[in-house]
Amino acid sequence: MWSNVRAEFAKHARRPANWLLLGIAATLSVVFAYLIPYAGLSGATSDAPNSERGLDSMLPAQFVSNAIGGVPVFVGALALIFGVLVVGSEYGWETWKSVLVQIPSRARVYGAKIITVLTGTLILVLTLLTVAATASVVVATVESRPINWPGPADLLAGAGGAWLASTMWASLGMLLAIALRSVALPVGLGLVWLLAVQNLLSAIAAPLLDWVADMQKALPGPNAGSLVASLGARPDTPGVAELVAPTQAALVLGAYLVAFTALGGWLLQRRDIH
């Protein structure tokens, strides 16, 4: 199994698209959590999103909440794309057959891919935390504020919550890629759900229909938003709202992660490879 994991790591570490996704996530995180709020604070763009945030929210003590604020929406979307790429590209390049004639155990290869996704989303979350921490130190230095770091428990909880939510979205990407045996359609459909349908449900349908309001408490997006909200992400961030208790949110996200992963494995196991 370890040799399969190493093979997957070698493959994905050299793939430019993965580094591009990571770079975009880090850039968006800095732009929306620090640059725009800081510009708003200095009066340059007073109407920009999050510009009303105070300086305190950009200092090192708050860097975890800034780092994970994007997880329910854009970080989740990028994680979903990553999940699609890890599995779907094997269909696009027809490389499943090249791999599976070397090793007939689809379960082992799929297991290696799951570990690759877990590792990839962990790197994503750690990168966001590192970038946010660096940006917060820059802000504190420029504003001559003391540098106070959050406690290890807050740091671990924030990283763990963001990792869980990101991996859940990546596992949805893997499932869609296996179900649709491609890359483009799974990315498109996944993003439509993540960025459009969920927002329409919560912004338009839920206030009008009670059953939609109740139903969305079981959907992956609102639970991801609730989890990061409970970990300090500001509720004025898109997708962040504490609709359910953090324990429930974590359990629901975990259940989705297991279900998406298991369903993907089952489909891969029983279908023919063409």
């Binding site: 070698a10 590209s89 004639v101 090793i103 007939p104 155990s105 023919d272």
Partner: protein, 298 residues
């Protein structure tokens, strides 16, 4: 010892379409077996079932006596329906990734690159390779596990004549080293040049299984005047049972080194010899008779 490939009543159905029908295939140890059939006959589906990529609707498959499961492909290499690799990796990196999945030491990679004569371009991105180089890399990947059985699906597809000759030379070399080879092709000449035994598949069924020689051997055709006298002279030289009249010419089942002597004796007997040439057996005609197909073969 079990046969490298053994199938029993192997069947694959896609809805209403019966792609492979009760196929019984035996490939013996050390032989080069040609799996011949027109496009769409079920060759690739059969090979995919052998490799566990496609699940049979019914019937069984064994490779070296093992049913599908752990260790099933331990000594099997394959190139199925053209090479497929990661375009952003080099040839060498692609092989290292596949070696990792196969559980093979990376030290095998330089050797197989050398076998397919790709060492010079091994560090270039796969996406920049020509079709011939891609095909050679595919063969290199198939050799990673030092296979006892090599399954090659149309390995010369898309290659130019020089590339085809190279590929056939490599296949013959591997066979000479003791590797059993199952080669699917729709090219009669290719099968004739490379294979020991041939299975002909049509509409999912194995319609014939013969040695290449049983498909017919080359004969010497002689146009001479008078024909009856020429037949007598030739009959005395090589045996009457090996001489027959086909229209306006004689057809002689003889070895190539006898041609000049036959010519000399006919001329010495005062017979005018206007034509003397080797006639290859009409494999295509035989193939079409067996498959009942239109000419999808070359």
């Amino acid at each position: 010892m079990s046969d490298p490939v053994e199938t029993t009543a192997l069947t694959k159905r896609y809805g209403e379409i019966l792609a492979v029908d009760q196929l019984r295939l035996h490939v013996r140890d050390g032989e080069v077996y040609g799996f011949l059939g027109p496009n769409g006959a079920g060759k690739t589906t059969t090979l995919r079932m052998l490799l566990g990529l496609v699940r049979p609707t019914s019937g069984g498959v064994r490779l070296f006596g093992r049913p599908p499961g752990p260790g099933y492909l331990a000594s099997v290499g394959a190139l199925i329906e053209g090479p497929s690799f990661y375009p952003y990796l080099s040839g060498r990196q692609n092989l290292r990734v596949l070696a990792g999945h196969a559980g093979v030491d990376r030290s095998r990679v330089p050797g197989v690159l050398d076998t397919v004569d790709l060492t010079d371009r091994a560090d270039d991105r796969y996406g920049t390779y020509s079709l011939g180089m891609k095909q050679r890399l595919g063969l290199a990947a198939a050799l990673l596990k030092k296979p006892g059985l090599l399954i090659l699906d149309e390995p010369t597809n898309g290659l130019d004549p020089a590339g085809m000759a190279d590929m056939r030379r490599t296949i013959r070399k591997l066979a000479a080293e003791g590797c059993t080879i199952l080669l699917s092709s729709h090219l009669l000449a290719e099968v004739q040049q490379v294979c020991d035994r041939v299975g002909v598949i049509a509409q999912g069924r194995l319609v014939a299984e013969r040695t290449v020689g049983e498909f017919g051997t080359a004969s010497l055709r002689v146009a001479a005047d008078p024909l009856a006298e020429a037949r007598d002279v030739a009959g005395r030289l090589v045996g009457a049972e090996r001489v027959r009249t086909e229209g306006e010419v004689l057809e002689l089942d003889v070895e190539p080194d006898q041609a000049s002597r036959i010519n000399t004796e006919l001329v010495r007997a005062g017979i005018d010899v206007s034509e003397l040439h080797w006639h290859e057996p009409d494999l295509e005609k035989t193939f079409l008779e067996l498959t009942g197909a239109q000419s999808h073969v070359e």
